[in-house]
Amino acid sequence: MSTTSYLLSGFGGQGILFAGKFLAYKGLVEDKQLSWLPSYGPEMRGGTASCSVIVGDEPVGSPIVSAPDVLVAMNLPSLDRYEAAVVPGGMIVADATLIERKVTRTDVRAFYLPATRLAGEKGLDGLANMILIGKVLKECGGFCRETAEAALHKVISARHADKLQANFEALRLGASL
């Protein structure tokens, strides 16, 4: 597949937009064509946040992802809302700490990671998002240390450089599961 579309969804504050930005910057580092589109407006203030990312070799047409190849669901409403939209053969990565049910579809690959619990246990507070992204990278062609680090350097400003290591650890943890 030359183009991959990602839909990331969860509560505001779970780092949905940040995780999407990481994927976008990873595409930039790899010199891919890409787009990143957040949901915006009042719903961002603590409600549902979602983010469309498209990365590929062809110029991106519509930046809106309505039928994602990859769905990252960080809460139950997100899984309920978008499960049916995933393309057949696509992938769903869910935070099992916050989503008790399983994916009902049988034509997609589903992965359940207790990301929020793991983040708490491993001292990676607030990085459940990146644990899930680590898993996504692993299942979509493999986790590459160099591009992941390069993308983290771009998405994390110098002011927050102390967060680089934890983000990288979270990605690696996700990729190891």
Partner: protein, 356 residues
């Protein structure tokens, strides 16, 4: 080549404006364009420029009027309801023949409407927006790269023709991030502005920046002169993208985000054997009439894809002068047509015109 960076469309406009030599920004917060103001608030002090949050949209456009009267490059940005407020000032800018650069990152309306993307200010932008006979140059970017490049072009056109140029974007274009490079090679320095009110230095007769003219013969003369300038612009400045039109039987007319969605639909339709292409106006005024006029000799029908109840479709129909049917494929109020919806319209057209 300049470095490729990842930026929101709104930020790309702000950065490009600074590169274009704009050192004065006046605005008032409104979703979904506030990133422009935030970027300017941060950057302007670092480049010796002025960022001022005005008390209203009305004040902001008049501050623009003041700086423009002194000959300097200046801008404001807003979203739909704010542009309605600025429309008084836009009319005065036109009447005083002042250059200005204005951004409308559209949201759904009318009224307070919503905050999701829309193209329902097409009429407002292309028909002048305020009172009186006038036009603005209206630029419709369809990527973050174009948000930047059309901003550079917008400042240049505004100065060259002494009028407002407006970026007519939508919430998607403003909020999305894409890679962008800032090519500064072809930035034009502003032309001489002997009309500017910067003080006479006691060396010349005073300059007056004014839109009042109480003698109707004189006011008529000014209007005719202004429309001669508009005629030159209509001849020289239309911009559009022709996409897969070489062998097309059906033509999509779409700008901005609607054109991006339509590209997906065109790819799928072509896979299904329908020869469909697209004309994407990049300038909405001047409207690329010649492109549509030529397409009308080639295609069986035109589908106008819009995030409105059908506004650009009127210009498409005027351009093709009833030679081919023009139909509408639309969503409104902040909704965006899906590629499937556009594909469905393409298939209907192909069925009807028997051109599969």
């Amino acid at each position: 080549m300049a470095e490729k960076v990842l930026m929101k469309g709104n930020e790309a406009i702000a950065e490009a404006a600074i590169l274009a030599g704009c050192r004065h920004y006046f605005g008032y917060p409104i979703t979904p364009q506030t990133e422009i103001a935030a970027y300017m608030a941060k950057k302007m002090p670092l480049v010796g420029g002025v960022f001022l949050q005005a008390e209203s949209e009305i004040a902001a456009i008049n501050m623009v009027y003041g700086v423009s009267a002194t000959g300097k490059r200046v801008m404001t940005s807003s979203s739909s309801p704010g542009i309605s407020l600025k429309s008084e000032g836009l009319s005065y800018l036109a009447g005083a023949d002042l250059p200005a650069f204005v951004v409308n990152v559209q949201r759904g309306g009318p009224g307070l409407g919503g905050v999701q993307p829309s193209q329902a200010d097409y009429f407002q932008a292309t028909r002048g927006s305020g009172h009186g006979d006038y036009h603005m140059i209206v630029l419709a970017p369809a990527s973050v790269q174009e948000m930047a490049s059309l901003t550079l072009r917008g400042f240049d056109l505004a100065d060259r023709y002494r009028m407002t140029s407006m970026i007519l974007a939508d919430g998607t274009m403003g909020q999305m991030m894409e890679p962008v490079t800032f090519e500064t090679g072809d930035i034009q320095p502003p032309p001489e502005k002997p009309w500017a009110t910067v003080g006479t230095d006691l060396r010349r007769k005073h300059n007056v920046v004014n839109s009042l003219s109480l003698v109707p013969e004189e006011l008529e003369r000014q209007n005719f002169a202004r429309y001669e300038r508009y005629a030159q612009i209509e001849e020289k400045e239309p911009l559009w993208e022709s996409y897969m039109m070489e062998d097309a039987d059906i033509c999509i007319a779409a700008f901005g985000i609607a054109a991006r969605v339509s590209k997906n639909a065109i790819t799928e339709a072509r896979r299904r054997g329908i020869r469909v292409g697209m004309i994407r106006p990049i300038t909405l005024w001047p409207f690329p009439r010649a492109a549509f006029r030529a397409a009308a000799e080639q295609v069986h029908s035109i589908i106008s894809v819009e995030l409105s109840m059908g506004q650009m479709i009127e210009d498409v129909r005027l351009a093709v002068e009833c030679r081919v049917p023009v139909t509408l494929c639309n969503r409104a109020g902040g909704m965006i047509p899906s590629p499937e919806q556009v594909l469905c319209e393409i298939e209907k057209a192909a069925e009807k015109e028997n051109c599969r």
